[in-house]
């Protein structure tokens, strides 16, 4: 005897135009892959917001822990040499 549920939670990512990144739009409930795509389409693309949809069960998302933010993200803050503006170019240099 199956227990009644609201099916599974899935996260939805929409690509508005080809070449652009997939952006998280929100979540939906569905049981199988086909239903997830259709529900994502019905809920998140009614106004032509997308040309491509990714869905995945929420339980498969791995998220970084905010407690680790300083370890994960602060070290990159002081590596300014990764940015082009750090470098001094001679005047008149082109295409660089």
């Amino acid at each position: 005897m199956a227990t009644d549920t609201q099916l599974d939670l899935w996260e939805v990512f929409i690509q508005s135009k080809s070449g652009l990144p997939y952006i998280h739009a929100g979540s939906i409930h569905a049981s199988d892959n086909k239903m997830a795509i259709q529900n994502a389409r019905d809920i998140y693309t009614r106004r032509g917001e997308g040309t491509s949809i990714w869905v995945l069960p929420s339980k498969h998302i791995v998220a970084s822990n905010p407690d680790d933010n300083d370890m994960l993200f602060d070290p990159s803050n002081d590596k300014v040499y990764r940015h082009p503006t750090f470098y001094v170019m001679p005047e008149g240099a082109k295409n660089i």
Binding site: A2, D4, T5, Q6, L7, L9, G26, S27, I28, H29, S31, D32, M35, I43, R46, R47, A63, N65, P66, D67
Partner: protein, 314 residues
Amino acid sequence: MHNEHSDTHFQSRIDNGEHIESKDYMPEGYRKHLIRQISQHAHSEVIGMQPEGNWITRAPSLRAKQILLAKIQDEGGHGLYLYSAAETLGISRVELIENLQSGKAKYSSIFNYPALNWADIGAIGWLVDGAAIVNQVSLQRTSYGPYSRAMVRICKEESFHQRQGYEIMTKMMRGTKDQQAMAQDAMNRWWWPSLMMFGPHDTDSPHSSDAVKWKIKRETNDELRQKFIDKTIPQAELIGLIIPDNNFSLDEKTGHYKISPINWDEFYRVIAGHGPCNKQRVDHHIKFHEEGAWIREAAVAYKQKHVKKELETA
């Protein structure tokens, strides 16, 4: 060295205008408040599908029918965005639905009023969605990330709803005597309940101060109610609708309208469950939820069989 898990650090993030995301530390009170507020909003959208859904099959033109269908789809969609936001706080949709059906969770009292004639569909779009917009625009800046993003999405979609309603009222006021009478009748019944949508006066509102401190709520009930009144009265007067209030007036100095006292007895009576449609709305929700159980079970069973089949052939 601050403790990232402290309420002080949390409050300073809020004060700095930062957004809180689902995995961030948050005080239990903040989480509970949000679950209550977001789910109440979600339930309102879903329950709101009932009075409006009541008129789709009787919509008097093909255009009106399509617009109403699209509007109700949006309402359902908004409910979904908000259920999604609530679920990021660690509550399941099963539990959210149980709370709605048991009466533990509330929904906006406005939907405990019946949609009696076609003009009610106009009044709901113009006044009820109009009031919701005032509230929702403000909520776009709410501190909780998933809620704020849902509100931005909702606000984009909401403005056609108000126009749909106002267009219906306008057409009817420019129509036959019968249509005008229906429109005025709808106005008479929906005006005061719409004002009550903003909740009790600031002085009487128990949850308000935390909500403001935590930037969940960005403006007070009275501030939002005044905004709504000021924009709506001129809209009513433009199309010849009479405000069902013998004593309202425009204060020339402030530019704000003053209205008669709101009948809070009615508000509390409806919230307590004695509105015209309270029982009907929840009974309807329960009935179709129960009738839908075999379908949801079938979907799960089918999925399990096919996952099993995939594993067998792997």
